[in-house]
Amino acid sequence: MKLGPMRIGTPDALVIGLAAFACAAASLSAHQTVVVQPGNRQPSAQQPPAPQPPPTGAAAARPPVPRSPQVDQAAHDRGRALWAIDCVGCHGAQARGSDTGPNIIRSETVNFDRSAPQAGSVLGPFLKAGHPTQSKKPSASFTDAEIADLANFLRARVNDTMRGSAIFTVGDIVTGDAKAGASYFNGAGGCAGCHTASDRSLAGIATRIGTPVDLQQRFLFPNTGRAGRGGRGRGGAPPGGPAGAPAPAAPAVDRNAITVAIAAPNSAPLSGVLVEESDFYVTLRDADGTVHTVRRGPGTRVTKTNPLQAHIDLLDRITDAQIHDVVAYLETLK
């Protein structure tokens, strides 16, 4: 059975559903309104956008604000040297303040400067107006170049706090007890039941998976990032979940794929890899590669099997200490 428009709604809704899909498909390429309603029987051509008033006032002159503005690294490094001489004592190494001076990471002067096309264009007038310095140098005597250097240093300090910044990385996570981890692995965790020397072997896992954090993530969420499902980052959507995504291309043997068995009255039982579920239908790919879509009816029994269920079951019972112990143990399997 083909995928796509054949799997729609209840039988009563089938024709209309087909039409909805078909009309939708027909309208995909054109930016237009599709109308199936009296009073407006022709699809309307797209209206030209309403004329926009010319930008007026101050807003017109104000430039775009990048989320993470560029930092001139050489200027930043010069700025850091100036910072060490005249600013660090009060505002701290990260510009986050000290007992004697405020945190300026969230100040308007720093952030309006950070948002301006020209580094230093807001900080400059602020310093020219007079501000205490560590060396007692009059702040008005900073040159434009020095102000730009300081501004670049401050841009980087704000950027540091942003998601996606270079310092937004995992610290040392191998804090557990490898011995306790081995004991959990072979005992309460139940891991050794599946991971043996000859099957699903973890020999060399710490080499195969480059970083401890990736190892930790993989052990807790082995399906995350796998092709065709669960690869949506956080949350790892289950098959047929939020995306309602089409089936991935027929894979080679995937021993971790979720399988489904369907038993229905007066029908031969079916089983295979789960492709998609909806309120009314279940779609699977059998061992021959044939895709079957089965309507859920009275008496239809759908049994799903996730080969990774043992990992999923851990989530509700493993403690953070046990997680860290297991990672410490797995890290020994070079």
């Binding site: 709604g9 109308v35 009296p38 956080r234």
Partner: protein, 533 residues
């Protein structure tokens, strides 16, 4: 060949619809010439959806009964409108005088509610930046349409032409705020707040003039000066002043009590928490404000000292119910942190606290009914396994409450992730950490009994996360696989699905025009309307 076949279906069904649908002439506008009034927003008629939630209550319950659980399977496509450029419709359309008004970031659209034909499309072309994650829609008063832009402008448009009347900055893009909320008209004011959680800046809710956008009042979510209430829940004034708590979502409002119910976002810094010991009021809270002055009347904190980005900005849904035999004015929220609360909306006192998704981060409730966070489940350098994940047990998608069934409906995701501290210093800023990876159980639609907080039933949800609509026809509309579905509001039984090219991405609405009940939902860049044959 395939294209020919599908085109043929279009013609066939068009013809079928033409045969079955009564012809109609456009009605004279009841609101001409001065447009929509505040009184009409307060008591909306079934041929309108004049404010974000349809009415001020946030219930997203329609009294329309043409579509019922028995006949909803006969719903069929009325029209489709595709955006002229890529975008995702996350906002709820407003319906006034037979016309729909909706948005995507920096864009507003008007279409005919009977045909989907575009009437105008406005682009705020001079946006200076901000985050394009979504826009919740417009507010309408008189002959003006209002929406917020990503670069912090509140824009007023002429409702007939989409021509810009004025734009006024209501937050600072330089301070990393942005606009995404749908303003809500309350009497003679527009109520709105800013979005953003990158820089540690204070959140607020504002009342502004519909005439020119001037500020009327502003309520800050966190203490801004010595003596402000809640300051004792922060280590110092500096942290409180920069404590975040964005007002991401449209407010609800009780005209009889003259109170606005605002829900607030997570505290800042978001994940690394070392420098903000305490409950961090009034972040992650439900707060009642006097609608005229913006003064706080009461608060309830859904996530004391949140460390997981769990905004409590889910709708504060208002309804009247009976508790222990007594009639009560209630407020309910299914919060992002997995807990469900029913409060007395006069006093803010909790009546029910329960978990609607099994969580692992709290240790029961305190005497106020607020969850007690388990310190062990705060983010750690080596990682803490937590459920829900950052996305939450639910998120911004509007829930629904049906007074017919007494059930509160919410789309639920039970997912795990691991929370890491990246900035282990004593004075982290911004985020300082995040969660990674995860596993999600089968997402569900749950129906919660407001009297007990217990989940009456749950069904698998095969569509994406979306808003929910319930009607007096005992029907619930929600996302379904590849589109939209209808369910029996009493039992959860699936009644109807239609694929519309993508799963629903906003809160569906319903209205009646010319004796026909429409259901309209956004699905990605498409607005789709169904009607009963």
């Amino acid at each position: 060949m395939r294209a020919l076949v599908t085109a043929g279906w279009c013609v066939l069904v068009s013809a079928a619809l033409l045969a079955q649908t009564p012809a109609s002439a456009p009605r004279p506008s009841p609101n001409a010439p001065n447009g929509l009034t505040a009184a009409q927003i307060e008591k909306p008629t079934p041929d309108s959806w004049p404010t974000y939630n349809g009415d001020y209550s946030g219930r997203r319950f329609s009294t329309l009964t043409k579509i019922t659980a028995a006949n909803v399977k006969n719903l069929s496509l009325s029209w489709l409108y595709d955006l002229p450029s890529p975008g995702v419709i996350k906002g709820t359309p407003l319906l006034v005088d037979g016309k729909l008004y909706f948005t995507t970031p920096n864009n507003a659209y008007a279409t005919d509610a009977r045909t989907g034909q575009e009437l105008w499309h406005y682009t705020f072309a001079r946006s200076r930046g901000g985050i394009n994650i979504g826009n919740r829609g417009v507010a309408i008063l008189g002959d003006s349409v209002y929406f917020t832009t990503t670069d912090c402008n509140l824009v007023a448009l002429d409702i007939k032409t989409g021509t810009e009347k004025w734009a006024k900055e209501f937050c600072s893009l330089e301070m990393m705020y942005y606009g995404s909320v749908a303003p809500v008209v309350v009497k003679d004011k527009l109520i709105l707040g800013p979005s953003g959680d990158d820089l540690d800046v204070p959140a607020y809710l504002e009342a502004r003039s519909p005439a020119n956008g001037d500020l009327i009042w502003r309520w800050y979510v966190t203490p801004q000066k010595a003596g402000d209430p809640g300051l004792d829940t922060w280590p110092n004034l500096d942290m409180a002043k920069h404590g975040g708590g964005m007002t991401w979502q449209p407010i609800t409002y009780d005209p009889a009590l003259n109170r606005i119910y605002v829900t607030t976002g997570n505290p800042q810094p978001v994940v690394a928490f070392k420098n903000r010991e305490g409950a961090n009021l009034y972040t992650a809270s439900i707060v009642a404000l006097d609608a005229d002055t913006g003064k706080m009347v009461w608060h309830f904190q859904a996530s004391p000292h949140d460390t997981h980005d769990w905004d409590a900005t889910q709708a504060a849904v208002l309804f009247d119910g009976t508790v222990d035999g007594q009639p009560r004015k209630l407020l309910a929220q299914a919060s992002r942190n997995g807990h469900f609360f029913v409060l007395d909306r006069t006093t803010g006192k909790a009546i029910v606290s329960s978990d609607y998704a099994k969580t692992n981060w709290s240790l029961g409730y305190d005497k106020k009914g607020e969850p007690i966070p388990n310190p062990q489940k705060q983010p750690q350098v080596a990682g803490a396994l937590v459920t829900p994940n950052q996305g939450g047990a639910t998120n911004w998608y509007p829930p629904s409450f049906s007074p017919q069934t007494g059930l509160f409906y919410v789309n639920v995701t039970r997912a795990f992730s691991v929370w890491y501290i990246y900035d282990a210093s004593d004075n982290p800023m911004g985020w300082g950490g995040t969660d990674r990876g995860g596993y999600s159980e089968q997402p569900e639609l749950k129906a919660i009994d407001y009297k007990t907080g217990k989940v009456r039933w749950a069904i698998p949800r095969y569509g994406g996360n979306s808003g929910i609509l319930t009607t007096a026809g005992n029907v619930l509309f929600n996302a379904a696989a590849g589109g939209i579905g209808a369910y029996n509001a009493t039992t959860g039984e699936a009644l109807w699905n239609a694929r519309v090219g993508g799963t629903v991405t906003n809160g569906p609405i319903t209205y009646e025009l010319d004796g026909m009940q429409y259901v309209v939902a956004g699905a990605g860049s498409r607005l789709v309307a169904f009607v009963l044959n």
